[in-house]
Symmetry: C2
Subunit: 388 residues, 2 copies
């Protein structure tokens, strides 16, 4: 981006912005954005493709000597995954002023991170981690300080719909709702060899029942419920665990559906907890903490139109009778930084197919052709939007 003489800013969340100036200085740039962070066992496309498509778009515009009205920018958002610091899309959330900076800065890394410190030293916070890598910028993280005309994002679908239908481009119109919780089950440590089942308040057994129940309830409502992190104390072969902490990720196509699943699980988990340990009059109890709430989102019609027109144009040469059928509207199952940019500026996204719909896995794959198609669509969409 420096070679292309872009203006580069790094804000206090470590977000990196690069802008290729347009003819007019009085309007904000249109951005292509995504993220470079990944999962402990993530692949090489989730997020990375989006940022690289922005860089490539700016290079291509330079090669073509293309002038735009407003500037065109690329943004790399920090910690979109929420893998190391367990709130997803946190830096675009701060930019949108939906998440307080202090909450983001003080967020602690999850204990399962490979760089796990010894019990004696404190876990890293987002702020200390940014300082360590020299990416704690001094520009305020806000849509007011770093404004955008619009935000476009290219991403692999991470799901199976495009690939199984043989389609080339997804015009993303919406993102499903999700909520992240941390739950704690408190039971009673006791001996595994001398304590009859009816005398136990086994927090891990209660967890097992809860996880089974979570899938049942979510499935019945067309939603998802998943546990990715679990920690058990005291952690000894022959002690029944008296404490379990775990993450719960609930998703669904509508905000209200996610709320319904949550409501039902709160009640069911209480019942499960009340049963385990009832025999000793000291039943388990369960505590919920909401860490993150992302209601369902609908993207902006203007942006969706630009993407759709560009998609049809890019696939027009494909050797099939009906090239329009290669493009489809789609809802995103995953969250993306576009969720937060959409709260402040016109936003939409482009999906390209990925192998087996697999993501958050080292085998995540999207062919060079599919990546190039997506990059062509996003470049055209940005230019179309600029000319509106």
């Amino acid at each position: 981006m420096k070679d292309l003489k872009c203006e580069i800013t790094i804000d206090e969340m470590g977000n990196i912005f690069a802008v290729r100036p347009g003819r007019r200085k009085d309007v904000p740039a249109t951005f292509i954005g995504s993220h470079l962070d990944t999962q402990p066992t993530g692949g090489r496309y989730d997020g990375i493709l989006g940022v690289l498509s922005g860089v490539e778009s700016l290079k291509r515009m330079d090669e073509m000597g293309l002038e735009t009205e407003g500037g065109v920018g690329v943004v790399n958002w920090t910690n979109e995954e929420g893998a190391r610091f367990p709130v997803s899309m946190i830096a675009s959330g701060v930019w949108a002023e939906c998440i307080p900076l202090s909450k983001a800065h003080n967020l602690k890394e999850v204990p399962t991170v490979a760089s796990l410190p010894t019990a004696a030293s404190a876990p890293e916070t987002m702020k200390s981690a940014l300082e360590k890598i020299n990416y704690l910028g001094d520009v305020p993280c806000s849509y007011k300080t770093t404004p955008m005309a619009a935000h476009f994002e290219l991403h692999i679908e991470q799901g199976p719909h495009l690939v199984s239908a043989g389609q080339r481009v997804g015009v993303v119109t919406a993102v499903q709702a999700y909520r992240w919780f941390r739950l704690k089950i408190i039971g009673r440590d006791t001996h595994t060899g001398t304590t009859a089942f009816e005398h136990r308040a086994d927090a891990l057994y209660a967890f097992a029942l809860m996880m089974v129940r979570a899938r049942e309830v979510a499935a019945a409502k067309g939603c998802l419920a998943s546990v990715g992190i679990i920690e058990v104390a005291p952690g000894s072969v022959n002690t029944v665990p008296g404490q379990v902490s775990f993450s719960l990720d609930i998703r669904g196509p509508e905000t209200a559906l996610v709320a319904e699943v949550e409501r039902e699980l709160r009640s069911d988990f209480d019942k499960i907890a009340a049963t385990e340990g009832a025999g000793i009059g000291k039943p388990c109890r369960v505590e919920w903490t909401l860490d993150f709430d992302s209601p369902a989102v609908k993207f902006h019609e203007d942006c969706i139109d630009c993407v759709q027109q560009s998609a049809h144009a890019v696939v027009a040469d494909a050797p099939v009778a009906d090239t329009k059928a290669l493009v489809r509207p789609i809802m995103s199952g995953a969250g993306h930084d576009s969720v937060f940019t959409s709260k402040r500026v016109p936003t939409s996204m482009i999906f390209v197919p990925c192998k087996d719909g697999l993501s958050h896995h080292p085998e995540e794959f999207s062919s060079a052709d599919d990546c190039a198609t997506g990059a062509s669509v996003i470049l055209q969409a940005v230019v179309r939007y600029d000319r509106k």
Copy 2:
């Protein structure tokens, strides 16, 4: 023990032996033994009472100027709990030549130990831990090098039978069987937000079903099955875990029953694993490793008789009509070092009541009276055995 002029030896498993000599030098000493190690959230009685009762017995014998035929010894066995190094009774197992020294020395600490090293440094082994605290002795750990005439052990019951029946002493005649396994479930990491349940091979969901099933199967056969340790990878809120490792502790009053539970669970766990992920043709799979196998044990009639006579003598003054009813034969639910000494020398144990039958918990409690009763019984039992 040094003050009492005992002969002290420390063997290569860190077992500490102290012997008060008897009249005869040509016969081995009768030992009172237990352990001083505990659980991450253990109490102040499990094991500790047994060692202290030995120390107290030797002091008492000195005060009384009591001479014995053979010597009388106290032994503190290393790592009886298997909490930090996850094989219980390992040091008495090496002494009995039932567990190879090299296996014991190379055993790694569990990752949940508070002193968890960073991922970069290796976990401590039993040998390195003994070296660090200067308890890697040079005396071979074997019943041949440190012989015993017999082994007696005083312990809190750790279960509810004595306390709920208002009884004072348990004459332990047997120990139930148990097996410890490490299991690994291999599934597939994938995105929690974009992966339908039928496209998942969720190792943690499979675990939850297995844990629920384990209790069902064990309960139906009058056995126990417990999980105390679980680790999940990769450990991210929005990645379906592709790998789960956990401990499984199966116990039952007969060796054959434990084997039956194991057989049934091996088959059921395979079925659960085969179902989770079947939709993508890459089902979960589950691998078992047997870490420890302790068949059911019956103690020695001579030792049981000495304990029973001593128990009746000690409670004879109690203000109840039938003092004999204060003493009962009992089977131990937990394992003890006496399990391994019983393979080589006449052995038996004494139980005293503990509050709520609770153990492996900070609230573990046995009254001073009950502790004193147990100590009196073990001292008498040893003297009776010596005089046989």
